[in-house]
């Protein structure tokens, strides 16, 4: 089932990508080509085969619970488009409209 331009519009919104209206159709076509590859794979009979969630064998790579130095705050904030009072500053977020 090919993707509609409406679905592409929604995926773009979820990914926070600004897609111009005129690109929707060509992007839909592009994504549909990718999906066709997956469709071929879906034809395979995988009955009794355990799903692979990772290409490497499951070996636990865990670390001990030990503290390590963090970045200096100026470094942590260095890439922020806006910073104020030691914090990242973002456009105002309103969560609770009754407070």
């Amino acid at each position: 089932m090919p993707l509609t331009t409406e679905e592409v519009r929604r995926v773009a919104l979820l990914a926070r990508m600004e897609l111009p209206e005129e690109e929707l159709a060509s992007q839909a076509q592009h994504l549909n080509t990718l999906l066709q590859h997956v469709e071929i794979l879906q034809k395979l009979n995988v009955e009794g085969v355990e799903p692979t969630s990772h290409p490497l064998p499951p070996v636990n790579t865990l670390r001990n619970d030990e503290k390590r130095p963090s970045l200096a705050r100026e470094e942590a904030l260095a890439n922020a488009p806006e910073a104020r009072d030691g914090c990242f500053a973002v456009p105002r977020i309103v969560e609770d409209n009754a407070s």
Partner: protein
């Protein structure tokens, strides 16, 4: 109007007690200067890779075992994708369809009625940062909390909880278990234990469930209770007026003691979960599970039963004293060195009143358990009266000093000087000759208490009422 039955599901998040964060070595602490515990991993810098904290995984396995869950032999991390300023990577590492623990339960007791509450899952994820709202048109983000190990515990569907009291009992028991396991400090006010109940109503006897709402921003046990009560009343009122409940998230407003619809984060949530490619699946061997099982401490239910058995205290007292591990430890240390029932009364009465007044946890009590035991023994021996004991406890809390030293210095010990006691009694008898004759001549023995009270007053409560009574008997019999 129909009678409604509340249907309540509980989703709880517990920040785990570890030294470092979930996937990096930044310190896991509360408070402090914003953005001082951040690194490329927890800031979501490109190219950084997460490495799982073993302790955090073990804490979740411990909890899963204590909650009677099945522990998965293979668990996996998944990405939950959404955009919000407190989530630097644009996704949260969580667990979707392979959680560490599943299908467990805990038991609660409400009004003497035992009930089993089933738990659907226990999983591990990472916490988000914190957002601050200012008056201007900006919000501020502190990422110290981003990446702190967070455990989610969700009750089973269909829900077993059908009243606010049961919801409260569930949360209390869960907090007790978490603090006994030492996996979470259980502090709701600091947000280290958070609870988001979902609430709906259905007519009694109906098979279908009503539309539910989820309540957020509940920062205390009281808020959880009030929030659920409010939501149940609001929904009942809607249904009674023929209106519909809208499925939504509602925020608890502490100042207004009411819930309000929250603006949703997205038009429609769609998290597009997929397996986290940066982390390998977790292999949890039977051996690992058994090692952890062997290290489990005595849990609240077992300790409760033992307290009743070993110390002869009531079921209700044992329930209260085992609510947190620190309280149960404190009680046990005191009860080991003094009368266990007296210890229970002092701890749940005067001591808890003193601690509440100063918002102190029992773990930070200015009165140590050995000192409390000494004080109880002083009362038992009659060295001080129970009434003076209350004063002494106040002074112990204020100074942290040994009760014996304090009592001596501040003159709180019992008056053993029989000459002084006799003098006090004689003057009371002289001042109240009418009452004395009432007792001696008319046999109105119930007036004796007044005389005893007057002597106690004259000695500033320092006399031992038993001594006063004995002496009074002697004096009255001589007058006969």
């Amino acid at each position: 109007m129909p009678e409604y039955e509340p249907v309540i599901g509980m989703e709880c998040h517990a920040e785990l007690l570890t030294e470092s964060k979930m996937f990096c070595g930044c310190a896991n602490q509360f408070g402090g200067e914003p953005n001082t515990r951040c690194c490329p991993v927890c800031l979501g810098m490109p190219g950084s890779l997460p490495v799982t904290n073993r302790k955090a995984v073990e804490h979740v396995i411990r909890t899963a075992l204590a909650l009677n869950c099945t522990v998965a032999s293979r668990a996996r991390f998944d990405r939950k994708n959404y955009f919000y300023p407190d989530l630097p990577k644009g996704y949260q590492i969580s667990q979707y369809d392979n959680p560490i623990g599943a299908s467990g339960w805990l038991d609660i007791e409400v009004n003497g009625q035992k009930k089993r509450i089933h738990i659907r899952r226990v999983h591990l994820e990472e916490d988000t940062g914190k957002l601050f709202h200012t008056v201007g048109n900006e919000s501020y983000v502190d990422l110290n909390r981003a990446g702190v190990p967070l455990m989610e515990i969700v009750t089973e569907f269909p829900p077993d909880i059908h009243s606010t009291a049961e919801a409260r009992a569930y949360l209390m028991k869960l907090r007790a278990i978490l603090t006994y396991l030492e996996v979470c400090d259980g502090k709701m006010e600091q947000g280290s234990l958070r609870c988001e109940p979902n609430v709906s109503l259905r007519p009694v006897g109906a098979a279908a469930y009503g539309t539910k709402t989820e309540i957020k921003n509940l920062n205390s046990f009281r808020a959880v209770q009030r929030g659920i009560e409010y939501e149940l009343e609001r929904q009942a009122s809607l249904l009674n007026h023929g209106e519909k409940v809208v499925q939504e998230t509602r925020g608890w407003n502490e100042a207004r003691q009411a819930t309000f619809a929250q603006r949703s984060k997205e038009v429609e949530q769609e998290y597009r979960y997929f397996p986290e490619p940066d982390l390998l699946p977790l292999d949890i061997t039977p051996q690992w599970i058994e090692e952890i099982r062997a290290s489990l401490p005595e849990l609240p239910d077992a300790r409760h039963a033992r307290f009743v058995e070993q110390y002869g205290i009531s079921n209700a007292d044992a329930a209260q004293l085992t609510e947190t591990r620190s309280l149960a430890d404190y009680y046990e240390q005191t009860a080991g060195a003094a009368d266990p029932r007296a210890a229970a009364n002092w701890i749940m009465g005067d001591l808890s009143r003193i601690l509440n007044a100063q918002s102190l946890d029992i773990a930070n009590s200015p009165v140590s358990s050995p000192h409390l035991a000494v004080m109880i023994n002083m009362i038992e021996r009659g060295d001080i009266s129970g009434k003076l004991g209350k004063t002494l406890l106040e002074r112990m809390a204020a100074t942290g000093e040994n009760p014996q030293t304090l009592a001596q210095r501040e003159g709180l010990v019992v008056l053993r000087d029989t000459v002084a006691l006799e003098a006090a009694l004689d003057s009371v008898l002289a001042e109240n000759s009418a009452i004395v004759s009432d007792i001696v001549e008319k046999g109105l023995v119930n007036k004796r208490g007044f005389l005893v009270g007057q002597v106690m007053k004259a000695t500033q409560g320092k006399a031992d009422p038993r001594d006063v009574n004995k002496l009074l008997d002697e004096k009255l019999s001589r007058k006969n």
